[in-house]
């Protein structure tokens, strides 16, 4: 529980006098003493470092004559970059990822050493390939030799040539993992004719490496010597060498043996040719009837790749070395790919591929050598976004040699086609169609981001990681992978297996993704798969088996419009396609007659609620995989809704509450119609607006219709209300939903605040009367609101007068001039009657656009409250943060499932720089780019006066009303820390193929940071059943399952823990902080404020709860902790079970 200790220390430090300024997370424990003394100063002085200041330049500096250099730079920035900020950011990033000269020298020295040692490895006499007895004991052949028998002889001779190839020489390699590729040209004597056949070349290559590895491993120069695969291709091992000592992490040298130039005849390695004979591979000839051998395009490509290492290097270096901008562009593209996890693993879109793409674009004149790195990045993204290489392949080859194969041949054999300059090698041979589509999707998103002129485009484009779990709405793990072997047989993929040398994962991947894409159809935006990581293993071990290469994870990006339907509509029964449809869906397909009279094939999925509809892809995937690929349900681990359980109602297991919220909203709509049509009010109703979280779909637990059991309550007949009873458990918690009802303006309204209040009260009374008379609703009026019971829901109607805030603001100056000044009362009224309804309707609209909004906002709120921090944050501020995830999803797409939305909420909270940025939530897209810039600069100028957390909306551009009264810097910092801890934990759980385990772990708060724990009795916690760990049994709360006869007003807003907390905060607010989870928390955490525990001199105004003590002859005041602890129990009599004092920190 290390993290808790850290958290605690931080809390302690934070109380020691930080005002607006938040310190970076793990700093400051050493500075405590200083901070205490400097508390006053931090208020007056400009805030400490880490805070942006408005720039002040003198007139002379601003208007001096520009130098030539300056003008040039400005012009360059204007033409080559988007803005000066972007230019600086790009320069900074490149500085960070580029290799320094000093390190380059060290790497060069290491390479020279490697070269010397490699050429000195002793040779071995010739033996049969199958006779491997000569291999020394400590090394194993890094290749699965299946089938083992193969013709040919092998001998080891030192390489004829050692060449450095790849990005290291080009200067486009980026930190942190620097790889240097070294090609070892095997002498011609080792190879024989026909070595291209039946993996003979690869066997020799592996043996060559094995012998090399054995000798190099003995050398003290190397820190580690191990095997890996080149680009994940399991027929092509490579040897990894790392220096010993402190440079071990600096560089990895990868040795790739390759054949002598012109050894293989290219015409034999065309994609249509076969080089792995069925007779050898399967021990039988294909089908026996003399049908042609299946082509082995991938196998051929892997052989070809080894022959062109040098020519590729030459091509790249002639183009790239001429222009720094191109190199920068390649480096940026590599960072871009790496952030999106696109370049790693088998079949990734590697840095080498983008370098070649840059070369292609230079050759087609889409990129010019004078372009800046940013422009190169942009051009490549633009190209990727608009070109589909799965349909229209491209080629670097300019010759029109008729012997060269046509592009169409390549399209037949490979899913993505990008030919090199020889015209024979497909550079994208291993890239699957879905990987390319993912690249395209990302490029499109990035282009949109760049075009939107967002201020933080750089940050989102190049600095934000997009791991699979956070990028895709749902993910599913296939585990164990050995099931895919059976799937290959079921899908009849023997030729592919032969081509892939037995790698069933790669062979099955393409067909499986196509199958699922077809099945998910309109529900799917994008399907992506993880690329199996490239393993590394010790030279004394056998290479890892295919089934050990982790799990196969698929990511689904859902299309919300497609999710609403439970029906898969097929063709009409008499059409020829019907048979195909039946075959595809198997037993799920059935004939149905539709309302328009058509009889069609159709598949209907079982889903009643929104959350179940979101999980239809789960049903589709398991059904199709079982039907077509023999993968049973137990091997498909679908991660889409484990978090749903946290926002499910008490007795519901099938819905996450969207439906219940919709019922409440419909009831509200009915009520508002009644209000509009009310007859007999002196003034007409001008607007009815909802102002409650339920009415914007963000109440964590939606209200249910109340049907009170009268025996459970004390009836108060003359006021037709129910009261709680002493001898019963606390009744169910009913929170009235606030509705604001504006009345028309009129000259009859008084112009005095007190009088307006009385007139409003009269209207409240009248409203209650009329609603009872005309519609028979149970009503109860008070001076400020009218409670209405309608269909079991309780609404609280506030009558509002448009001009009242203005009346409260009016101040008359001595000269008689009337001016408007904000007062606390006017601000509060404006917030409650104007801004809150606006926000509610805007978020209500957002929910109609993005059905997942409700789930995300509620999960987020649930989590914050479960961490006992709910009091610090208003409902509205958390709703707005959740809304930001939908309105500003960059670099992602708007979430379509609560799960991914919640993960992004945690990410946003843990990474957002609240100190220097306002969170702009552009509701209804009302703010223009210019206005946003203006808001940002206004924010910087007024930072010190603004709250710690600033959220800007189009309706509230300056004040951030929803965060005015909290959170404090400490609470926000605590939230940031908790989110930063929860995110990796949750992601790890969800990415675990063995199932997420206990998903509630991240929702349980750390309790050991509190000084005192007050445990409450569940009997008096009305929302006990809502707790994160819902109790198996709780108390009866006096509700009937059927509508009862009683129509009395139920007990409203009676929540003993909340009443208790209000009392505690009022009495001890300046001594301690109180933390509680309003959703069924059984414990209140108390944290003493260290500042108020300092002994203080006596002051009549601050004696609250303190006592006078004589300390060293001085009379000082200290908190009377023993008495306060007893007060905790006294004030909460009946509710409090125990008061546990856990630390002795008050003994000052």
């Amino acid at each position: 529980m290390m993290h808790n200790i850290i958290v605690k220390e931080l809390i302690v430090t934070f109380f020691l006098g930080i005002t607006v300024v938040m310190e970076p997370a793990l700093e400051g424990t050493g500075k405590e003493g200083k901070k205490v003394s400097s508390r006053k100063r931090t208020l007056a002085e400009p805030p400490a470092k880490g805070l942006l200041q408005p720039v002040k330049l003198s007139r002379a500096e601003l208007y001096k004559e520009p130098t030539n250099e300056e003008l040039n730079r400005l012009r360059e920035t204007e033409s080559l970059f988007h803005s000066s900020l972007l230019r600086l950011q790009v320069e900074e990033l490149l500085k960070e990822v580029r290799l320094s000269e000093k390190k380059k020298d060290r790497i060069d020295a290491f390479l020279r050493e490697v070269n010397q040692r490699v050429v000195r490895v002793p040779s071995v006499p010739e033996t049969e390939l199958t006779d491997q007895a000569w291999l020394p004991a400590g090394v194993r052949v890094p290749l699965h030799q299946v089938p083992y028998a193969v013709k040919g002889c092998f001998r080891f001779l030192p390489p004829a040539q050692v060449t450095v190839v790849g990005s290291y020489l080009l200067g486009t390699c980026i930190r942190p993992d620097i790889n240097v590729d070294v090609a070892l040209t095997m002498p011609r004597e080792i190879l024989q004719d026909k070595d291209g056949l039946n993996q003979r070349y690869f066997r020799k290559r592996a043996l060559y490496l094995a012998h090399l590895a054995h000798h190099l491993a003995k050398d003290p120069l190397f820190g580690s010597v191990c095997f890996s695969y080149t680009n994940g291709c399991h027929l092509k091992p490579s040897l990894l060498l790392r220096p010993r000592g402190k440079d071990e992490c600096l560089v990895t040298v990868r040795l790739h043996p390759c054949p002598p130039p012109d050894f293989f005849r290219p015409c034999r390695l065309l994609p249509t040719k076969n080089n792995v004979r069925s007779a050898w591979y399967r021990g039988q000839s294909p089908a026996g009837d003399g049908s042609p051998e299946p082509p082995t395009p991938h196998y051929n490509t892997w052989v070809l790749q080894d022959t062109v290492l040098e020519s590729h290097l030459q091509l790249l270096s002639t183009i790239l070395s001429s222009a720094q901008g191109l190199k920068d562009g390649v480096a940026l593209l590599k960072v871009w790919l790496q952030q999106r996890e696109l370049d790693k693993g088998r079949g990734g879109f590697t840095g080498f591929l983008v370098s070649m793409l840059v070369v292609f674009l230079v050759s087609t004149r889409k990129i010019h050598t004078t372009m800046s790195g940013y422009q190169v990045l942009r051009s490549v993204l633009q190209f990727l976004a608009t070109t589909d290489l799965t349909v229209n392949g491209i080629s670097l080859c300019r010759s029109s040699d008729p012997s060269l194969p046509a592009l169409a041949d390549f399209h037949q054999a490979f899913s993505v086609v990008f030919l090199d300059s020889s015209g024979r090698l497909n550079l994208c041979a291993d890239v699957t169609a879905s990987t390319y589509h993912q690249v395209q999707h990302e490029a499109r998103l990035s282009m949109m981001l760049l075009d939107s002129r967002a201020d933080d485009g750089f940050q989102l484009l190049l600095m934000t990681p997009k791991p699979m779990i956070r990028a895709f709405d749902h993910v599913l793990h296939l585990y164990p992978l050995s099931r895919l072997q059976a799937a290959c047989h079921r899908l009849k993929l023997w030729p592919e297996l032969q081509d892939n040398g037995g790698d069933y994962v790669s062979a099955a991947l393409g067909p499986l993704t196509t199958l699922l894409e077809q099945g998910l159809g309109a529900r799917l935006n994008l399907l992506a798969h993880s690329r199996s990581p490239v393993p590394e293993w010790d030279i004394s071990q056998d290479p890892p088996k295919h089934k050990d290469s982790g799990t196969l994870t698929l990511g689904l990006l859902l299309r919300p419009e497609g999710l609403t339907s439970v029906l898969e509509l097929g063709p009409e029964a008499d059409q020829p396609e019907a048979a195909k449809f039946r075959q595809f869906w198997g037993s799920r397909s059935e004939l149905r007659r539709f309302q328009d009279g058509a009889i069609r094939e159709a598949v209907v999925w079982e889903a009643a609620s929104m959350s179940q509809k979101r999980l239809i892809p789960h049903q589709v995937v398991t059904h199709l995989l079982a039907l077509h690929a023999d993968i049973p349900e137990t091997c498909v681990h679908y991660v889409g809704g484990p978090l749903d359980a946290l926002i499910q109602g008490l007795k519901e297991t099938s819905s996450t509450g969207e439906e219940a919220l919709a019922v409440a909203v419909r009831c509200y709509d009915d009520l508002s119609r009644l209000l509009w049509g009310l007859e007999g009010l002196p003034l007409t109703v001008s607007a009815v607006q909802g102002a409650h979280p339920v009415l914007r779909y963000t109440e964590v637990f939606p209200p249910t219709p109340v049907r009170p059991a009268s025996s459970f309550y004390e009836p108060l007949r003359e006021r037709s209300s129910l009261l709680p009873r002493l001898n019963k458990p606390c009744p169910a918690y009913v929170e009235p939903m606030t509705v604001v009802c504006h009345l028309e303006g009129s000259g009859q309204w008084p112009q005095d605040a007190e009088a307006v209040q009385r007139v409003r009260a009269a209207f409240q009374l009248r409203l209650a009367e009329l609603l009872t008379q005309q519609h028979g609703l149970q009503c109860r009026a008070t001076a400020t609101h009218t409670d209405v019971l309608k269909d079991g829901f309780v609404f609280r109607i506030h009558v509002a007068y448009q001009r009242e805030p203005q009346i409260l603001k009016e101040v008359q100056s001595p000269e008689g001039m009337i001016s408007l000044r904000d007062t606390p009362a006017s601000l509060r009224l404006e917030r409650d009657t104007r801004q809150l309804p606006l926000l509610t309707s805007a978020l209500h609209g957002l929910q109609q656009q993005h059905p997942a909004f409700s789930g995300v906002a509620r999960l987020a709120k649930r989590w914050v409250r479960a961490q006992l921090l709910g009091e610090g944050f208003t409902d509205e501020s958390l709703d707005l943060v959740a809304a930001a995830l939908f309105l500003h999803p960059e670099p992602f797409t708007p979430p379509s499932s609560p799960q991914v939305g919640f993960l992004r909420f945690l990410f946003l909270v843990s990474t957002f720089d609240w100190k220097n940025n306002p969170l702009i939530v552009n509701l209804n897209n009302e703010l223009t780019v210019e206005e946003q810039v203006e808001i940002r600069s206004g924010f910087l100028a007024a930072r010190a006066q603004l709250p710690v957390m600033v959220i800007v909306t189009p309706q509230d551009r300056k004040n951030s009303v929803w965060t005015q009264n909290g959170p404090s810097a400490q609470i926000l910092q605590q939230l940031v820390i908790l989110a930063a801890e929860a995110l990796p934990m949750l992601e790890k759980q969800l990415m675990d193929p063995w199932g997420p385990g206990d998903i509630r772990t991240v929702f349980r708060p750390p309790l050991d940071i509190y000084d005192v724990l007050i445990r409450l009795s569940p009997r008096h916690i009305p929302r006990h059943r809502q707790a994160v760990d819902s109790p198996a049994a709780s108390f009866c709360r006096g509700l009937l399952s059927q509508p009862g006869p009683s129509s009395l007003m139920p007990v409203l807003g009676y929540d003993p823990p909340q009443l208790y907390l209000t009392q505690l905060r009022e009495a001890f607010g300046d001594l301690a902080l109180f933390f509680y989870d309003q959703h069924g928390g059984e414990v209140i955490g108390v944290l003493w404020k260290p500042t108020s525990f300092q002994p203080q001199p006596f002051k009549a105004s601050s004696t609250k709860g303190r006592m006078v003590m004589s300390r060293g002859g001085e009379l000082v005041m200290v908190p009377n902790v023993e008495a306060i602890l007893e007060d905790f129990a006294v004030l909460g009599e009946g509710l409090v079970q125990t008061v546990e004092a856990r630390s002795e920190r008050w003994t000052v």
Binding site: G50, L62, Q459, A761, Y1054, L1115
Partner: protein
């Protein structure tokens, strides 16, 4: 001051509860069951010469640190042993200036949740104050005979109290509005009387209600007038007409760029300090 305090502390016998200068400390507990106690710090109410106070001098006891569960009734019960009481009032803060107490409506100004408060206890005779100063305690707020409700008991009775009586509310609103309407009518009548009648220096007051209404004297109205003036002026102005205007606008543009550049540099500096350029 410090020296005196020290002397006093030294003079105190061991068992006396330490109390600040001028105050006496009285321990107070909720009931028998509690171990530790809070301390009321009391002294005779006094104000500086010349200032007026709502509370009668000499007869008033000023009480600090009244615990939240101690109501006015229980405080008066506890202090009644010292002498007959006239009134007991608990407040959030000691009142500094002389502020008239208006009777507040219970409908429109609900009682705040009590925390630690200060009290003003007015005895009928000055002897009550001195008797109270000598109290030993510990005082018990809640006893068998006079139990004080806390916790669930209190919240349920508070809830019952909060259920409003609409008739009483209506009566209160009606009386208030009647008085208000009367006041407004009087004011209007007075204004009508003064309408058009010059004062002793000969000035005539012009109001909005007169025959020829004028602009209201509000800040918003005067701002509107200024804005209209400004717009009129800008419409007449020529932009980028003279060579110097051209030059100046160019320079202005350059200055803007410089300022932006400076801002960007600062931003970068900050990001670099936060190590925000490590992509992974």
């Amino acid at each position: 001051m410090v020296a005196r305090r020290r002397k006093r502390a030294a003079r105190d016998p061991e068992d006396r509860i330490p109390s600040p200068l001028g105050y006496a400390a009285i321990p107070i507990k909720f009931s028998e069951k509690q171990q530790a106690s809070h301390y009321l710090y009391v002294r005779a109410h006094s104000v500086r010469q010349g200032t007026k106070s709502t509370w009668p001098q000499k007869r008033t006891l000023f009480v600090l640190n009244v615990p939240p569960y101690c109501t006015e009734e229980s405080l008066s019960r506890l202090l009644s042993s010292c002498g007959p009481l006239q009134s007991v009032e608990l407040q959030e803060k000691p009142d500094l200036a002389d502020s008239p107490k208006e009777s507040r409506s219970k409908f429109f100004h609900p009682k705040p949740v009590p925390g630690f408060r200060v009290g003003y206890v007015v005895f009928q005779k000055p002897s009550g104050v001195s008797a109270a100063l000598a109290l030993q305690g510990p005082l018990l707020v809640s006893t068998e005979s006079h139990p004080v409700k806390t916790g669930i008991h209190k919240w349920i009775s508070d809830y019952a109290d909060s259920v409003p009586d609409p008739e009483a509310l209506r009566v209160e609103v009606d009386t208030f509005m009647e008085a208000y309407d009367q006041k407004i009518a009087e004011e209007e009548a007075k204004a009508k009387e003064e309408e058009g009648v010059p004062d002793e220096e000969g000035w005539v007051k012009v109001t909005r209600r007169g025959r020829r209404p004028v602009l209201p004297r509000t800040e918003a109205a005067s701002l509107r007038v200024l804005e209209r003036e400004r717009r009129k002026r800008t419409r007449k102005e020529l932009l980028n007409f003279y060579a110097w205007q051209h030059r100046e606008s160019k320079m202005e543009h350059l200055a803007q760029l410089r300022k932006k550049f400076e801002e960007d540099k600062q931003r970068i500096e900050l990001l670099r300090a936060q190590r925000k350029f490590r992509p992974y």
